[in-house]
């Protein structure tokens, strides 16, 4: 019973985090008039999945009435290539920086780190100009490019610090075995960094999936991510607010990040333990 206070604390903390979620879940399962006439905290009298099906396939967003499913697909079309590009580029850059072949390499890394502390809003306008000059504004490629660039500092930091902890003898052995820069990366370093890949993947996935401002700015019409659609749906000024649909839509939009966390769970923890996010 000495652990009772511990469990009590944990339960309270969990409840505080979960309570809004529970309210959302319960609201999404109520029909509309039950919401309008009952208390927000009351449990659904007559649970129904109608709001969920509508949010997924029938709600009208920006003129089309096919629900979130369309934007859901858009989000995946953005996240997957952006994830691949930022991980591939970040891992390679981190590897190159971890070799510390010259003094200025560390300065380059420090310069890159500055990118970590500048919020995207600050560099939004120059980025728009850059992407426009590349002729990619309003295209999927432009948005993927923007995400890759903004994620690069963070992903590079993760990989660089991990690769720095790899014993130097391993690199020497690879060099003696005749493996060059890329072969060493591919055969020796990358397989070692799987837990770090998991960390980068989960965090970048969450970040890119949840992104709103880049999606709103860079995506062309018909390519906008689910977060933008959610904003349109919930922010709609016309007609009555369908809270149950909004709640269901929000949860649908949040589902992939939760799944990614759960699926990569153990690798993720190992990555954290392997020093992936330590300075």
């Amino acid at each position: 019973m000495r652990r009772l206070p511990l469990y009590l604390m944990l339960s309270i903390a969990a409840l505080m985090v979960l309570f809004p979620l529970l309210v959302m879940l319960s609201t999404s399962l109520k029909p509309l008039d039950e919401i309008n006439h009952g208390s927000l905290f009351a449990l659904p009298q007559d649970p129904t999945l109608a709001a969920w099906t509508k949010a997924w396939g029938g709600a009208c967003i920006s003129g089309t009435c096919r629900g979130l499913s369309v934007w859901f697909a858009n989000s995946f079309a953005i996240v997957l290539p952006a994830l691949f590009c930022s991980l591939a580029l970040g891992a390679l850059t981190g590897y190159a920086l971890s070799l510390r072949t010259a003094r200025w390499v560390d300065m380059l890394f420090a310069a890159l780190l500055i990118g970590l502390f500048i919020p995207p809003q600050v560099t939004l306008y120059p980025m728009i100009v850059l992407v426009r000059e590349m002729g990619l504004f309003g295209t999927l490629g432009g948005l993927v490019f923007a995400h890759t660039v903004w994620g690069l500092a963070f992903v590079t930091l993760l990989f660089r610090n991990f690769f720095l902890s790899v014993p130097r003898d391993l690199l020497k052995a690879a060099r003696i075995d005749g493996a060059g820069f890329l072969a060493t990366f591919w055969h020796v370093m990358l397989p070692l960094s799987l837990p770090v890949c998991a960390v980068a993947l989960v965090l970048q996935f969450t970040y890119i999936w949840n992104d709103f401002i880049l999606g709103l700015t860079f995506a062309g019409p018909g390519q906008q991510p689910v977060t933008v659609a959610l904003n349109v749906l919930a922010g709609s000024q016309f007609g009555q607010q369908e809270y149950n649909v909004n709640m269901a839509a929000t949860m649908i939009a949040a589902l992939p990040t939760i799944l990614v966390y759960l699926l990569s769970g153990r690798l993720f923890v190992r990555g954290i333990a392997a020093g992936a996010v330590k300075g």
């Binding site: 014993p167 003898d169 391993l170 020497k172 052995a173 690879a174 060099r175 003696i176 075995d177 005749g178 493996a179 072969a183 055969h187 020796v188 397989p191 070692l192």
Partner: protein, 361 residues
């Protein structure tokens, strides 16, 4: 088999000079051991031979080929690291075949070569394991196997045994020696363990402070150290040093230590040595023994304590105001406090210059 020739090799990291003017030839098929205290630049020299570091001065030749500017994989060498440096994510099989794969050999060729070496080292049953699933000794074998698979011209080893326990180390010593006798590859072996150096070496290179102090056969390095550093570093317990003046008694040379005269029968009177000259006398523990009753030319000592080590007995003796160590057989054991008559073996004694520590005889 290949001759390795180092000519005037120097290396500095920034302002710190790690190696200065190293001239060394490793004969074809020779087993040359680099011995020296920690931080003296052994690994640095090995890395330079391997091509992992660029020297700041000097040239390296393998046979007639100048390899100074070549990458490690173009030099036809293999290296074993103290940390073994096995690729953790690869199976033993892939670890051993990695270099061959990088050379572009076919899968069948690689498999055949790996199988051969695995059989030689008796690690066939480990081929599908990951390094983390192996004991230290097994990892060590795999690391040696990985080097052997390449059939290198020059074999480089950096303290490969120092992470093993005493028993395993002794076993591996024998095995490495056997492997070398089979293959007769030109080998450069770094260690700071002098027993290892003595067992393997066709010649030992003793290094200190980035310089070669002596390079010779193990017996010579032990019996005739070139300077005080080598004398003190090689041999355990260490050599006894007594500083005094050379003197001549009626029956032979001696060393005068303040008012004491220590007779050194058989000390070879070398050119340039003069009576009255200040020298440092170096005597190994086995060259200080108990005198027989009828011996002349003995000196009195006073036993301070005894240290039995099994086959030998080390006796700390106060001699002419200084403590020295003597090696005796356990049967002779004097007891602490006892007065003894000692006989110093002048034939085996070394004399060093007081100022620069160089050998005088």
């Amino acid at each position: 088999m290949q001759r390795v020739h180092l000519q005037g090799i120097a290396k500095s990291f920034g302002a710190t000079k790690v190696l200065e003017q190293i001239d060394l030839t490793i004969e074809p098929g020779e087993f040359l051991v680099l011995l020296g205290p920690s931080g003296c630049g052994k690994s640095t020299l090995l890395n330079i031979v391997a091509g992992l570091e660029q020297p700041t001065g000097g040239r390296i030749h393998f046979g007639d080929r100048d390899v100074t500017d070549l990458e490690p994989d173009q030099r036809d060498i293999a290296m074993v690291f103290q940390s073994y440096a096995l690729y953790p994510t690869m199976s033993v099989r892939r670890n051993m075949g990695f270099a061959l794969k990088m050379q572009g050999l076919s899968t069948a060729e690689i498999a055949a070569k790996v199988a051969d070496v695995a059989k030689l080292l008796q690690i066939e049953h480990l081929l599908d394991r990951k390094p983390a699933q192996l004991s230290g000794g097994q990892q060590q074998r795999v690391a040696i196997g990985r080097a052997l698979v390449r059939e290198p011209q020059v074999f480089l080893l950096d303290e490969p045994l120092s992470n093993l326990d005493a028993k395993l180390r002794a076993d591996m010593r024998v095995e490495l020696k056997r492997l070398h006798e089979r293959g007769r590859r030109t080998t450069l072996y770094v260690t700071h363990d002098q027993v290892e150096a003595m067992t393997f070496a066709s010649r030992i290179v003793v290094m200190d402070k980035g310089r070669v102090q002596q390079c010779d056969r193990p017996e010579v390095v032990y019996a005739k150290p070139a300077n005080r550093f080598v004398a003190g570093f090689v041999g355990a317990p260490t050599m006894n040093f007594l500083e005094g003046e050379l003197a001549l008694l009626s029956d032979g040379p001696a060393l005068r230590l303040k008012e004491n005269l220590l007779p050194l029968p058989g000390l070879w009177a070398s050119r340039g040595l003069q009576v009255g000259q200040k020298v440092v006398l170096g005597l190994r523990p086995e060259h200080i023994g108990l005198a027989a009753a009828d011996d002349v030319g003995t000196c009195p000592g006073h036993v301070v304590m005894t240290e039995p080590t099994g086959p030998d007995l080390y006796v700390r003796i106060r001699l002419a105001g200084q403590e020295v160590t003597s090696r005796m057989s356990p049967g002779q054991a004097p007891s602490p406090g006892q007065k003894v008559a000692l006989e110093l073996d002048g034939k085996a004694a070394s004399l060093f210059d007081v100022a620069d520590g160089q050998r005088l005889n």
